[in-house]
């Protein structure tokens, strides 16, 4: 067993490795802990939940260790949701259920129980007694609009940064082909990437804070 003192002395990298080694879902993904596996590919695996809300309740998770959704690389998020679509379809066909609830909890406050990102796919039927209804609450119109405005700003800024990166990569790649100076181009794009990481440096810090919130 590791004492709290030892934990406190670990570097962030060691801590991440420790978390990974002690993650039940990493061990399920690697087959060290037996599970009822429904689907698997290079990057993700789906197993039956041992505490299911309904028969056929599946958990789709990345094989790599990501504690919360914001840590997922974009391509993996896209890939996993395409698999989710396939699994939902499989549930409709195989179990003859009438619908599916797809659910993700990010953070302890949202009901996340283990620090490994996963998507729940729950087969649903009329009157199955599962209460996952999304309530409707009253907020002042002013507050709702203000929050909307803030989110709008952040999302468009993200999009602008992404577009800039794509544009940079395109121009450097084109320069490489035309002038045959691919080495220089690679250097430039490397530089851009560095600048990019500086720009998003704050973000990765925030993500660490989020995973800290999830506990050990």
């Amino acid at each position: 067993m590791v004492t709290e003192e030892e934990l406190a002395q670990m570097t962030p990298e060691e801590l991440a490795e420790f978390q990974k080694q002690n993650c039940v879902f990493c061990q399920i993904a690697s087959g060290k802990i037996p599970s009822k596996e429904v689907y698997s590919d290079e990057e993700s695996i789906a197993v039956l939940d041992i505490n299911p809300a309904a028969k056929g309740h599946m958990l789709l998770m990345p094989k790599g260790h990501y504690s919360v959704m914001p840590q997922l690389p974009e391509h993996l998020a896209e890939h996993m949701f395409m698999v989710t679509k396939g699994l939902s379809q499989a549930a409709l066909k195989a179990l003859q259920c009438k619908g599916t609830t797809i659910f993700v909890a990010n953070g302890v406050a949202a009901g996340q129980k283990a620090p490994h990102f996963m998507i729940h796919i729950i087969p649903r039927n009329d009157g199955d007694g599962i209460s996952m209804t999304i309530p409707s609450r009253e907020f002042s119109k002013k507050d709702v609009e203000a929050v909307g405005a803030v989110l709008k700003k952040v999302l468009w800024r993200k999009k602008a940064v992404e577009a800039e990166v794509v544009k940079d990569e395109k121009t450097t790649a084109a320069a490489g082909i035309k002038k045959g100076k691919s080495k220089k181009a690679a250097k430039i794009s490397g530089k851009n990437r560095k600048q990019e990481s500086k720009k998003t440096g704050k973000k990765s810090f925030d993500l660490d804070a989020i995973s800290d919130m999830l506990g050990k």
């Binding site: 009822k36 429904v38 689907y39 789906a46 039956l48 299911p52 809300a53 959704m69 914001p70 974009e74 998020a77 896209e78 890939h79 949701f81 395409m82 989710t84 679509k85 396939g86 699994l87 939902s88 379809q89 499989a90 549930a91 066909k93 195989a94 009438k98 619908g99 599916t100 609830t101 797809i102 659910f103 993700v104 990010n106 953070g107 302890v108 406050a109 949202a110 009901g111 649903r124 009329d126 599962i130 996952m132 999304i134 309530p135 409707s136 609450r137 907020f139 709702v144 929050v147 909307g148 803030v150 989110l151 709008k152 952040v154 468009w156 993200k158 999009k159 084109a174 993500l207 919130m213």
Partner: protein, 174 residues
Amino acid sequence: MNAVAECDYCKLIERGNLIFDDKNVVVAISPSQAGLGHVLVIPKEHFTILEQIPDFIAGHMFSIANNISTAIFETLRAHGTNIIIENGVSAGQRIAHFAINVVPRSENDGLGFNWLPKRLSDDEMSTSELQLKEHAKNIGAFEKEKKTITFDEKQESIPDSDEDYTLRQLRRIP
């Protein structure tokens, strides 16, 4: 056509006042707020359930939901987020237009999306495993967006065939 004309989310998209939109997807503040900052990620085209949505749009929608979730963490000081999809009337879907709900969460906000675990026999677990496995076999070969030739690509392809180009020019002379 009628279904589209009467769809609340299609109307919502038409009205504008969106948080974000691109070619296939929009993000809007949810008309009913489960928590302050509850947003919806909706496909522009009228699809009722997830199974109807082309793979690349579905994937893109989830990556946008991920961005919003991050934005909510960063700006609203939420302690967490829930992503909830009611796929089908039996799952509680009330509007016949697919949507991903992103709900900001904070501790003791009184929103509990929990379920009581069901006790299933080993037999029941094993049969559902086999049945699902059989149908999940076909997952893969995801549908990609058809690429349209952009102006840039056209321009670059011309200098590659210098001779052909001059020949073509000659043919054009009346």
